[in-house]
């Protein structure tokens, strides 16, 4: 990588930045899910690896969350942007060199910040745990260069129009900058009290809603039409999706702290806007599934389409849950329980991960012009990811419902802990399956890069047969 950091932009082959981001994201996925598995083991077997401050659950828990969000998810997004945005503009990435530097600074910065977080340098605020000077690093050295690259590529495109995916990519990377800036205001300006709690949750909500959700959805808008050859079912519905995300997803941040003394009008406003999140959800799901008309055999035969469609299908329970769990009538029961943890994993490990995995699978094959090394390993990855995730999701949903019951029945709290113990074990099993699948994925991708069948110019990966 060092030679590309100092080469001239023209000498760097197209797709280099995307490849670096892609492999980095897979490695962070392994690290992140490994940490998740470790933490889950500690919840199921609390005396495992005990007595050391550095391996205590408290120190490791947020490292898991930030590794998967900033390491896996965001870097997979960056990879998708690096190769999809130019492809949709019929052009090349504005600056491969900036992309390579971005990837290097991202990896370096993330390693540094996670190490500091691990040893205890935390701000104590959920999802904005990094201290403010590291948030500024993230903003200026990770987000802004990515944004500049994407925007300049879109501006210098050779097509006239801008496709749906690029609307989301462009605005997503812009909005995440604003979210990181505004959400950390409590740290820069030392805001306190409920204002600080609310801004922290505005940040958390909008990282999910204005960065992860739209960009993951945008990936599906590319992979399905590209691989199946069908045009997107409806441009108009794409418009509905885009505008309703901006309006309905940025507003209901208050739903994260409904039991706190926030102004009641804000909670009601958030509830209404939140239920309306079903509008972009239904727009997205219907548009994508209808795009598959006549090509459903790809769902069986093609690994990238399979990942994407499973991600799209998981968006249905995700948004149904999300839309309704923020009404006061449901929120009081499930808030602070495992149901929310399951919902978070449905969003990040279910919906988002499956869509990004498709982008990374497709991108690495297309850029390196190598067919996937082994379909068997890819299927192993897919099934371990899906079954592992479902085990996690279902077990923790059940545990969450049990925890919620503790708010109704006056039982000693320890009874809840005893009741949820089997689900903690199931969760650990599920998460470990995901971790195992990812290790296999890295091997598969590495072998693809080295020994995959060469794809001739002008052909797409799925036009060649799988050999193993």
């Amino acid at each position: 990588m060092v030679k590309y950091l100092f080469a001239r932009n023209e000498d760097i082959p197209a797709g280099t930045a995307a490849i670096y981001f892609g492999f980095s994201s897979i490695i962070w996925f392994i690290i992140g899910t490994g940490l998740g598995s470790f933490n889950a083991a500690k919840l199921a077997f609390p005396d495992w690896v005990t007595g050391s401050e550095m391996f205590a659950f408290g120190h490791m828990r947020q490292v898991h969350v930030h590794a998967v969000i900033f390491g896996w998810i965001s870097m997979a997004f960056a990879m998708a942007m690096m190769y999809i945005t130019p492809a949709l503009g019929n052009t090349k990435l504005w600056s491969e060199k900036l992309g390579v530097w971005n990837c290097f600074l991202w990896n370096f910065g993330l390693s540094l910040t996670l190490t500091l977080l691990w040893i205890g340098m935390t701000s104590g605020r959920e999802y904005t745990d990094f201290p403010w000077f590291l948030d500024l690093y993230i903003l200026f050295l990770m987000v802004v260069p990515l944004g500049i690259n994407v925007w300049m590529t879109i501006i210098h495109r050779r097509t006239q129009g801008i496709y749906t995916t690029n609307w989301f990519f462009g605005t997503g990377v812009f909005m995440v900058g604003i979210v990181v800036l505004v959400g950390n205001l409590p740290e820069y300006f030392q805001l306190t009290g409920l204002t600080e709690a609310y801004l922290t949750w505005w940040h958390a909500h909008n990282i999910l809603g204005l960065w992860i959700t739209p960009v993951a959805a945008a990936i599906a808008y590319y992979t399905i039409p590209k691989i199946t050859g069908n045009p997107l079912y409806s441009h108009r519905i794409g418009h509905v999706h885009f505008w309703s995300i901006v309006v309905f997803y940025s507003t209901p941040a208050a739903h994260h702290i409904m039991s706190s003394p926030l102004p009641e009008w804000l909670k009601s406003f958030a509830s209404v806007e939140g239920v309306l999140i079903l509008v972009p959800a239904i727009a997205f799901v219907s548009n994508l599934l209808l795009t598959m008309t006549g090509k459903w055999h790809y769902f069986v035969e093609n690994i990238e389409v399979r990942f994407t469609i499973v991600g799209v299908l998981l968006a249905i329970p995700l948004n149904m849950q999300g839309g309704f769990q923020q009404t006061r009538s449901i929120n009081w029961y499930i808030h602070g329980t495992g149901w929310i943890v399951a919902h978070a994993h449905l969003a990040l490990l279910g919906f988002s991960t499956f869509l990004e995995a498709a982008a990374v699978y497709y991108g690495i094959q297309t850029i390196l012009r190598r067919k996937l090394y082994s379909l068997s390993l890819a299927n192993f990855h897919f099934w371990f990811l899906l079954i592992g995730f479902c085990t996690y999701w279902i077990s923790i949903t059940i545990a969450g419902l049990i925890q919620g019951a503790a708010k109704i029945y006056e039982v000693p709290y320890i009874d809840v802990v005893i009741a949820e113990h089997p689900y903690m074990i199931a969760r650990w099993v599920g998460g470990t399956m995901v971790f195992t699948g990812n290790v296999v994925w890295l091997i598969n991708m590495w072998m693809t890069a080295r020994e995959g069948t060469v794809i001739p110019e002008g052909r797409m990966p799925h036009e060649l047969a799988y050999e193993r």
């Binding site: 205590a56 935390t122 129009g161 204002t195 600080e196 102004p263 406003f269 503790a406």
Partner: protein
């Protein structure tokens, strides 16, 4: 950008996002800041200090730069017995909480009384100060709690106050909250009783003014353990807490809480080194039924992180 539609679209996008942020960020903040502080809010912010997370004075969350809360049973100047009261001692160099630095956030009434009668503007961080909370101040006919700068009004100096009380009346609540945040207790133990049975079981929910000046609020989001908002009122046994932190399964066999024995440091209260390995072996034997009694938990030295943490937990009344 070629198409005129895109120029229109970009401006519409800006308006949409801007309007959304105005309605959901700016307007609520106006509502929230219109509520003044409560007495509990003042007690908390004076106990916790400036920030309870990463800060320039305490980047690794070790408990540096935090005030000490003392319980006074005698007047420090005259030595006469008084009703027990709390004083918040800020030694020289310890940053003041937001309510003192920016009295505006205390709200009408509290701010005026604190500045006027309380003379908090005369407190300087370079010299340190001692604060107390007066719960029944009178401003324009209504009652408000306010902060009194006892260094200016009564001549109480920080070092003098600390020398006048013994260690059992010193509570390192601010440093303890740092421990709570650093060890991330708030990931399992929430600080926000929710509705229905919660309110009966864990106590009343906090009021808006209770958070005044507190940063971060550490509500928690994913409860896997009892809510701690009012734990000091339910369980005020230092001995129980000590055992619970050293190994939760000593006092609660099915607990999934990790052990926090590393907060004891290296020596116990008598200065003898603690043999953790021996303790763990003996505990394992006890858990397997080979010993009748579990090993004794070493009593912590007063200058350890566990002391700070227990002080904080017990302060949550």
């Amino acid at each position: 950008m070629a198409f005129r539609q895109y120029k229109v679209g970009v401006r519409m996008f800006g308006c949409a996002l801007g309007l959304s942020m105005m309605i959901t960020l700016y307007m609520p903040s106006l509502t929230i800041v219109s509520v003044g502080t409560t007495a509990i809010g003042l007690q908390k912010e004076l106990s916790y200090g400036r920030i309870s997370g990463f800060s320039v004075e305490d980047p690794f969350n070790l408990g540096w730069g935090k005030p000490v809360t003392v319980t006074l049973n005698k007047d420090p100047k005259t030595g006469r017995k008084i009703d027990p009261m709390h004083a918040y001692v800020y030694k020289a160099g310890v940053p003041f909480p937001s309510g003192i630095r920016h009295p505006r956030i205390l709200g009408i009434g509290s701010k005026d009384l604190s500045l006027g009668t309380g003379r908090i503007d005369q407190a300087s961080e370079a010299q340190g100060a001692v604060f107390i909370v007066n719960e029944e101040g009178d401003f324009n006919g209504k009652g408000y709690p306010y902060v009194e700068n006892a260094t200016a009004t009564r001549g109480w100096m920080p070092d003098q106050i600390l020398a006048a009380v013994d260690d059992s009346n010193k509570h390192y609540i601010g440093a303890g909250k740092i421990m709570f945040v650093r060890e991330q207790c708030w990931w399992c133990h929430t600080l926000l009783p929710e509705q229905t049975q919660d309110w009966q079981y864990f106590g009343i929910p906090p009021r808006l003014g209770d958070f005044n000046g507190e940063s971060p609020t550490a509500f928690g989001s994913d409860r896997k353990a009892p809510d701690l908002m009012h734990v000091g009122s339910r369980n005020s046994s230092r001995e129980w807490l000590m055992m619970h932190f050293f190994n939760p399964r000593l006092v609660q066999p099915h607990s999934i809480m990790p052990r926090f024995d590393y907060l004891w440091g290296t020596v116990d209260v008598d200065g003898d080194p603690i043999d953790f390995a021996k303790w763990r072996t003996e505990y394992t034997e006890y858990a397997e039924g080979k010993r009748v009694y579990p090993p004794e938990v070493p009593e912590y030295h007063p200058d350890t992180e566990i002391r700070y943490l227990i002080d904080y937990v017990l302060s949550l009344k």
